[in-house]
């Protein structure tokens, strides 16, 4: 079977170089569609495949490039969207029965920017329902499966995004992250996932879960690919009230500047509270040692207590999610999957004073993390406590006992990036998280690039 499997598509940098060298964007898109056709029956990454639209866009890109009108490095390169992003003419289902029959009339900001750069939209990707449910909900489409082992959790909620990139169906998949929904599937699927600073990327045209905590961002196979995507995605968008009127960085200029002389913070108490298993703990230590070998200075820092950061995130997320969904929860609760419905319903327990207190706390803990980052260039910490659990072992209760290690940086708004950090004995990926100063995604990418290139974990592919 593997002999007949079409090869994985190249990442963004490689695809760009191949197009520059004369390779056909149409052929690249056809190769991606062939890979999807061969694998998606097992992995269920896609909810909507827009093959005809993609091929037409690829042919247009090819004609423009052949005519000497190449728009930029990503012209003619395929991408895909988590199915909460609008793309005019395609359904935005949010993977939910409640959205059956929906067709978007306009593009999300991300769709506009990526297509304006000449990228080719392949289709829409599986998500936990409304970016909130879990991997066992019974929904109109199957849940995405981890390509490293389909019996194990792919992470969520941007599950299809992680799966599509890890399995070589596409080089760039957009995700969203309200408590870790970019970084968790990136970590469990062994790819790079960036939650940029709150307000750095527009959320216009993206189905909301929590206005205060929602972030959009890319998942890619390599750090360089992530930087290439950010070059296109970043920018102010007045249609998003939270969009920051801050000029975007140059995410490529210092990508290869290395980490010599940089200060990387590690937070022992945060790590202890994370209850890491031995393999993840060893991977985190090894990552710190490798960064030190590359010339970084490792310094101890102290983050706010997890309990405080988790309370801030959860209260705001729950209240806002409930506010968005309350009418449907009253009138058609049976149309949600059980996990989604119950998790949204927990928002009914939030009081007004607690919501206000959480908003006040948010400003205080963000300032505390700002102060930590005044003394170091980035913080290295865990994003998962262990490799992906089996799907049947995932906590699918209404309120998780263990909150994700990613959530604190949704609460503070700081940019945070998941980067592969090795493999567990069972062959599943491990990952670490880098957290940076607001609007300094370039520094995060620089540190991650140095680590990735020295560690070399991205060379390994899922055994498909």
């Amino acid at each position: 079977m593997s002999a007949a499997l079409p090869p994985p598509v190249p990442g963004l940098a490689e695809a760009s170089a191949r197009i520059a060298a004369g390779e056909s964007p149409t052929a690249l898109t056809e190769a991606a569609l062939a890979r999807i056709a061969a694998l998606d029956g097992r992995l269920h990454a896609f909810v909507t495949l827009a093959a005809d639209r993609a091929l037409a866009a690829a042919r247009r890109a090819e004609a423009e490039i052949r005519a000497g009108r190449r728009r930029g490095p990503l012209h003619g390169v395929p991408f895909a969207l988590k199915d909460i992003y609008d793309a005019a003419g395609l359904p935005t289902t949010a993977h939910s029965r409640l959205r059956l029959g929906h067709v978007a009339e306009a593009d999300s900001d991300a769709t506009e920017r990526l297509e304006a750069a000449g990228m080719v939209l392949l289709g829409k990707l599986s998500t936990h329902e409304f970016a909130r449910g879990g991997p066992t909900d019974e929904l109109p489409w199957p849940n995405a499966r981890n390509p490293w082992n389909v019996e194990h959790f792919a992470g969520g909620s941007s599950s299809g995004s992680g799966v599509a990139v890890a399995s070589g169906m596409v080089g760039l998949a957009m995700g969203s992250d309200t408590g870790g929904s970019i970084r968790l599937p990136a970590a469990y699927c062994g790819v790079v996932g960036l939650k940029p600073t709150y307000g750095r990327l527009s959320r216009h045209g993206v189905v909301p879960l929590s206005f205060g905590m929602d972030h959009t961002g890319p998942l890619t196979r390599t750090v360089e690919d992530c930087a290439l995507a950010m070059q296109v995605l970043a920018g102010h968008d007045p249609r998003d009230p939270a969009s920051a009127p801050v000029p975007p960085g140059d995410y490529l200029r210092e990508l290869r500047a290395g980490v010599a002389g940089l200060r990387i913070g590690i937070a022992p108490r945060f790590n202890e509270e994370a209850l890491l298993d031995a393999e993840t703990s060893a991977a985190l230590s090894a990552a710190a040692e490798l960064l030190a070998l590359l010339g970084a200075e490792i310094v101890e820092v102290r983050l706010p207590p997890r309990r405080v950061m988790d309370a801030c995130l959860q209260v705001i997320l729950l209240a806002e999610g409930f506010a968005i969904h309350q009418r449907d929860l009253r009138e058609r609760p049976q149309d949600y999957g059980r996990v989604t419905r119950e998790r949204l319903m927990v928002g009914a327990f939030v009081t007004g004073p607690h919501y206000v207190q959480a908003q006040r706390l948010r400003r205080m803990i963000a300032a505390e993390v700002d102060a930590v980052l005044a003394g170091c260039d980035a913080i290295l910490c865990p994003d998962i406590a262990a490799a992906a659990p089996r799907v049947d072992a995932v906590d699918e209760g209404p309120f998780r006992r263990q909150h994700p290690l990613t959530g604190p940086f949704n609460a503070t708004g700081h940019p945070a990036l998941a980067v592969p950090a090795g493999f567990a004995a069972n062959g599943l990926p491990l990952s670490v998280q880098l957290v940076g100063r607001n609007h300094d995604e370039a520094m995060l990418l620089r540190v991650a690039q140095a680590y990735e290139q020295a560690a070399g974990w991205m060379e390994r592919r899922p055994p498909l």
Partner: protein, 70 residues
């Protein structure tokens, strides 16, 4: 006390206008208790100067005209 909490739990659902099937009530009640325990950290007083992160920022003068309104 546990009886009071269960009454409070049911009141929250009733006030929100949502219902939970009887077989799922134990799981939702457990979630309520876990949520309440986590949120209790927010009961401590903060300084008056601690403003919410989501304070409303009015548009700058001229923003409406820039958006094309007449």
């Amino acid at each position: 006390m546990p009886q009071d909490l269960r009454a409070e739990f049911r009141a929250c659902l009733a006030r929100a206008g949502i219902s939970v099937p009887p077989e799922r009530e134990p799981a939702m009640y457990e979630a309520y208790l876990a949520y309440a325990e986590l949120a209790s950290v927010l009961d401590e007083p903060y300084p008056y100067a601690a403003e919410p992160a989501a304070v409303f920022t009015p548009a700058a003068p001229g923003a409406g005209r820039a958006a094309g309104r007449s």
